[in-house]
């Protein structure tokens, strides 16, 4: 076995599906702490009561974008409505549909034959590849460690009223929601639906856009320019692109407008005397919060920039990748190569290039 994926979450799972175009399950080792690729996502989605994906028809784990989830939905619902919605960019699969899809793909792809439970904490460059914490040497390794943890602003960490949006919670009668992204918008709606009075605390006005980043950054059209930016420019661009955002449309606007008119929703500068403070502030950012990546950077003296590991455009780690071996990143830690790396499309991007590297390897 010469190929390994470190990380058994959705990013690793999506990369795995791409590798399966060329490799059999017993040729791929997946190291992770849970054999259910959707375990973390399922927990978080349940905590925040998410019912619908932000992604569209192609927000799935398969290697090719077609047939997408809307097509699958047409067959299941026996209605063309999902396809029509998809053509209009209005289709968003439900969380249940997405989880069913993951389960179905997991079952038929041989994922469980490849998964080896256990945490990999160190990746060492050795002759002929990479040694993974005593689990063997692999010529081609892709790291998809996922988000390093939930982010709670420093001034709120010791506040007993605080709960993170991605942790299980109910709603008090007065709720402050900190944040301005989709999680925050979802929590505004949830809390209002629960009858609470809601205060939104945010550092900036939310950006409204359908997907995590502008659409052209999902294709070579936007990426070609992005990859040409200097390190400083790319850092600035990433900070702009990754600003909190949520989709435009009536889904949120109507409820918020009505609640504001009733005096049940308002914006303030800081958490006030609400009974509950929900931090919809996403995840810790940067490789420094992930021990695996910290060791990798330290031990191999990798180039970094403002918390990101500097990657080649194909999501591989320069200096540790050549014609005979590959070390690649996928998921949120690969944003240097692909701004929307923490999406399923981002995982597909990294997976495809990882597979190209494996295919072109002379000593594969």
């Amino acid at each position: 076995m010469s190929v390994a994926i470190v990380g058994s979450g959705l990013a690793g799972f999506t990369v795995y599906q791409t590798l399966r175009r060329s490799l059999e399950p017993d040729q791929i080792a997946v190291f992770g702490t849970d054999d259910d690729p959707a375990a973390s996502f399922r927990r978080r989605a349940a905590a925040i009561r998410q019912r619908e994906m932000r992604s569209e028809s192609d927000g799935h784990c398969l290697a090719t974008t077609f047939p997408g989830l809307s097509f699958r939905s047409v067959r299941r619902r026996r209605s063309l409505a999902p396809l029509v919605d998809s053509v209009r960019d209005r289709y968003h699969p439900s969380v249940d549909e997405f989880l069913d899809h993951v389960e179905e793909v997991r079952g038929r792809s041989g994922w469980d034959r490849s998964v080896q439970l256990g945490r990999v904490e160190r990746v060492a460059s050795v002759g002929g590849g990479f040694e993974l914490d005593g689990r063997g040497v692999f010529r081609h390794v892709l790291l998809a460690p996922g988000h390093p943890g939930l982010h709670v602003p420093a001034d709120l960490r010791n506040d007993p009223r605080v709960v993170h949006a991605y942790e299980p919670h109910d709603y008090a009668s007065t709720v402050t929601v900190v944040g301005a992204g989709l999680a925050a918008a979802t929590e505004w709606a949830n809390a209002l639906d629960a009858g609470a009075e809601v205060v939104s605390v945010r550092r900036r006005e939310p950006v409204r856009r359908p997907l995590n980043v502008p659409r052209h950054y999902f294709s070579r059209r936007g990426l070609a320019d992005y990859h040409r930016l200097s390190a400083v420019e790319r850092t600035a661009r990433l900070q702009t692109l990754l600003a909190p955002s949520f989709p435009p449309g009536r889904r949120f606007d109507e409820r918020l407008t009505a609640a504001a008119a009733d005096g049940r929703f308002h914006v303030e500068a800081s958490p006030n005397g609400s009974e509950q403070v929900i931090c919809a502030t996403g995840f810790l950012r940067g490789f420094l919060h992930d021990p695996l990546l910290v060791h990798l950077v330290d031990e191999h003296v990798l180039e970094t920039e403002a918390g990101w590991i500097v990657l080649a455009p194909d999501s591989t780690v320069p200096g540790l990748t050549d014609g005979t071996r590959t070390l690649a990143l996928a998921g949120v830690s690969a944003q240097w190569a692909f701004p929307a790396a923490d999406t399923l499309a981002g995982a597909r991007y990294a997976g495809r290039r990882f597979l190209q590297r494996i295919r072109s390897c002379r000593t594969r």
Binding site: T64, T65, F66, R215, H216, R220, R221, G222, L355
Partner: protein
């Protein structure tokens, strides 16, 4: 999808390739070249519009294929009609529909299911894009070269008098040199014959075109025919820039085009006809009669007869005897921007239908008049025997 420019063109060419296959099939069936011409124009228009869309659309949602397709169709048809490509409307629409559907299905389903990262690559198809371009170039070049090689041979008729009748029994261009004269008439007896710059003197008919397709008479000059100057039966024809002298012949027609209703449009344009019983007459025909000068005719200057459906416009008619513009026998006629001057009465024997009509509709016919200049005609216009004339004068 967010296309790169290269991706747009690759995806476009892949769809054109499908249309090209359809064009090959259609061309084989109809045995004409227009499907290839149309695909070539389609590719050129598509790529040109891609350059515009690329700037305007950083992201192109799937639904936009409908309005963009409509725009492309509009531009394509404008080019087809503007440059006079001989593609039938239904065929052109069919071929465009094939190309458009191919583009939709390829971009939305086929490539995204076959190619890892089709969307991610902005529609680029790698080597296949180059192969598609090469295949299209090769097929179109091959078709063009074949069409060029199959052009009819050009036969030069040297200056001087050639004894006729000259019977043309193969596809050819008969090009008359300056001063080339055929005495005794020409008979066109094969499809796709073009006669240019030839003077014909005498003959039963000056030029006879009978039961053939695709005849073009350009710059011919006819005089001294015993019956018709140019006599067309069961044939589609384009006659332009001709001169027909029928002075002294009170029985023949200058140009007579008859019984070709089922063969598409014919055309008479830019001719000068002098004398004859009728100047230009058509029976059961669809002929455009445009920009001609007709004078000194004995019956009608321009006669649209026997269930013909035609337009006569921008013609100048002078000194016709009896009737200038005549719409007869269940015909439907559109007369636009014609000038009719000096028609003379021929009703000395009491025939009231020959009182010198500028325009006459007769026997269940319908004539529409738009902006005609009628002057010095004893009766400017009239309708008899259950016929109608409608006028719209600006």
């Amino acid at each position: 999808m967010s296309y790169t420019l290269k991706g747009r063109i690759h995806s476009r060419l892949a769809a054109v390739l499908v249309a090209l296959v359809a064009a090959c099939v259609i061309a084989a069936v109809v045995r004409e070249w227009w499907p290839f011409e149309l695909v070539a124009v389609m590719a050129a228009v598509g790529v040109a519009l891609d350059l515009a869309w690329h700037r305007l659309l950083p992201y192109q949602p799937a639904w936009s294929m409908l309005p963009l397709g409509a725009v492309e169709l509009g531009v394509l048809m404008a080019v087809v009609f503007g440059f006079g490509l001989r593609a039938p409307l239904r065929g052109a629409l069919l071929l465009f529909a094939v190309a458009w559907l191919a583009a939709v299905v390829l971009a939305q389903a086929v490539f995204p299911s076959l190619r890892l990262g089709y969307a991610e690559d902005g529609g680029e198809l790698g080597r296949f894009g180059g192969v598609a371009a090469a295949a299209i170039a090769l097929v179109l070049f091959g078709a063009g070269a074949t069409a060029y090689a199959q052009r009819p041979p050009v036969v030069h008729l040297s200056a001087g008098v050639h004894q006729g009748p000259l019977v043309i029994t193969r596809r050819e261009v008969l090009q008359g040199d300056r001063g080339a004269v055929v005495r005794g008439g020409i008979v066109v007896a094969h499809d796709d014959v073009e006669i240019k710059d030839v003077t014909v003197v005498g003959g039963v008919n000056g030029i006879t075109v009978d039961n053939v397709h695709g005849t073009v008479l350009d710059g011919v000059s006819v005089s001294g025919a015993k019956l018709d100057g140019i006599h067309v039966r069961l044939a589609d024809v384009v006659i332009k820039n001709c001169t027909v002298d029928m002075l002294g012949n009170e029985l023949g027609q200058g140009i007579d085009i008859s019984f070709n209703m089922d063969m598409g449009m014919s055309m008479v344009e830019g001719c000068t006809i002098l004398g004859g019983m009728d100047g230009i007459t058509t029976h059961s025909s669809m002929t455009e009669i445009v920009d001609n000068q007709v004078s000194h005719t004995q019956q009608q200057a321009i006669s649209i007869d026997e269930m013909s459906m035609e337009t006569a416009k921008d013609n100048e008619i002078r000194d016709a005897l009896g009737v200038a513009l005549f719409c007869n026998d269940r015909s439907m006629c559109m007369f636009e921007h014609n000038t009719v001057v000096g028609t003379q009465s021929d009703s000395a024997d009491g025939d009231r239908s020959r009182r010198g009509f500028g325009v006459l509709a007769s026997f269940l016919s319908q004539a529409e008049l738009h902006d005609n200049a009628l002057a010095s005609n004893p009766v400017p216009f009239g309708a008899i025997t259950n016929s109608e004339i409608s006028r719209e004068q600006k």
